[in-house]
Symmetry: C2
Subunit: 386 residues, 2 copies
Amino acid sequence: MAPQIAQRINDIGGSVFSRLAGRIAGLRHPVAPLHVGDTYLRPPAGCALHELDPEDGPPLNRYLAPQGAVELRAALAARAGAPSLPPIDPDRVVVTPGATGALSAIAAATLEPGDEVIVLAPYWPLIVGLIRAQGGRPVEVPVLGLEAALVERVAAAVGPRTVAIYLNSPNNPSGAILSAETLAGIAEVARRHGLWIWADEVYAELSYVGPPPRVAAAAPELTISVGSFSKAYGMAGHRCGWAVLPEAPGLRDALWKTSTHQSYGAPTAAQVAGLRALERGGAWLDAARIAYADAGRAAAVRLGVPSPAAGTFLFLDVGEALRPDLSEDDALHDFLVRCLDAGLLLAPGRSCGADYGRYVRLCFTSAPPAVVAAAVDRLAGLMGRG
Amino acid sequence: MAPQIAQRINDIGGSVFSRLAGRIAGLRHPVAPLHVGDTYLRPPAGCALHELDPEDGPPLNRYLAPQGAVELRAALAARAGAPSLPPIDPDRVVVTPGATGALSAIAAATLEPGDEVIVLAPYWPLIVGLIRAQGGRPVEVPVLGLEAALVERVAAAVGPRTVAIYLNSPNNPSGAILSAETLAGIAEVARRHGLWIWADEVYAELSYVGPPPRVAAAAPELTISVGSFSKAYGMAGHRCGWAVLPEAPGLRDALWKTSTHQSYGAPTAAQVAGLRALERGGAWLDAARIAYADAGRAAAVRLGVPSPAAGTFLFLDVGEALRPDLSEDDALHDFLVRCLDAGLLLAPGRSCGADYGRYVRLCFTSAPPAVVAAAVDRLAGLMGRG
């Protein structure tokens, strides 16, 4: 008799790159890593880990309180929702190991086994496995090109086990921003059915069309907003994010418990660096936003698609470049292999939603602009846009 | 209609310090923080985060693979179980945000809702909440002073829903080390019933009586061993630990999934610093072990209890110092308040097991030796050992 693996974990798909792994390992030429959401920039001056002063502030090797440093929570509370929403009580901020840690703690705190979460698609690739890992069931509602009737379709997806709606605006992978009207409609659905709103806002600081509307403005009592230093300040490897909670009885205590028991909180140095970034990183962020917008626009122009409104990705329909004699999955795999042979690694669209088997996701910030431009040029060739 | 909190999370106890929080906040004198497992030492030379070279090795602000850096996993595999066990394949190592992250990912990978885990007590305070957070049920089996009949009592605690045995040796809080015979007996129980063994070995490097026996030697096919840089190398705030897996079908994939979806892995800099500590930290560890042993011995002598065999804690029966006119919980609270007034913060014993309402836990490494010695002297007075 052998011990077992939990069924809900076996049901989660493995790495979307496993089918490419052998070929990646055998590559003999350099490959632009445009499959992952990362940055070629270093963090703002004075905010890199090697620049921290161990004599100024908490010892970097010691624990902080698992819910986060008092000063960091206060700083995040003061800017929560800015510029459109008022500051909040620091007790409503929980610091976590990245936005992933925040969303995992939120899922653990709010899902009973079998509960459903409506997930607007396309989505951040980890969210559906994250929900399943905590015993929940993701229910996908496609958005891409369908925002007009979105609220009605969200309402139609609510069932007796629905407990939350997950939305990621600005969006990974599409770069789209949901309108204030759409968010208000979704908030109304949530209010009618007593649902949490999990608002993944890790790209809020990387909008190229002005501050994005926030769903917390429409449903302050239901919205758990998630942010991160990873994207806004080039600190993905630091593992520091946060959740801003509504004033809901018991939710703060629940989040403190689930976050503490999953990871014992975010690293000390990441919190010190994050606080510095809030204090000193404004000019860096403004410059990064311009550089990222330029890189996104250049890639979009070369590929003949609209420039992204926000974020660090293009989500590309490559259907016309796929071999028609293969199944959609095999054809996309064949396309990704051709990309790899041409020196760029992309993510398959299905990792962002079941409906996106003809899509690929490209991160235009995970390598320097010249590297991205050269890779995009080769991709244009593969897409018949030479 | 308001959205809900998951019942299993509401069932987890809150912070054991919440009853003291008001008094702690109002203190006007310094308090020795002997309630938490931490260190007064800085990490080994060259291994502190501010000493890392951002031009040598992976960029500290970028992601690594969520299962951990290849070089670190190889180094951990080479020393897995040393000196008593052979090296293993690096694929059997998963790097996580601390041992907490490892155990949480293990619980998520192996527990179905309602499954039971036998937890040897006293225990690391987070383990029972960690099990509950993942839908499981902890079943406590007391060990303290009862090791002779332990194997029989573990066997008697196995029920139809039991899936794992958690043991923490060397022990937090008692400092005790389970014998090879006891571990072999527990391994036999696990084998008979098809149970995982979760071996929390974060104090393995801090034994003062020679290398501790490892349960993986007795049940290599069932044992998931958990380690950490936090205690051995003074890096608790870095958040980097690991799990060493048995060769069990599907377990590696499951751990990769649960760890990735809970936190997206350990911080990059913590992994770089940890690898350096493995390479260069030997002399530091030898010196720290001597310093910690001295601090533990001095505290034990002053308090009239046996010196700890390992770890960083004393677990003290303070029953004789408790007010007899109060309930056990109120009497212990009263004692902790008197400690606080005397300038030392301790953890209540019940956080380490239901049977330990007369106990307190004291960390003798979370402040410099002179601070600990002075605090222990005051504690001795409160315990009537002035």
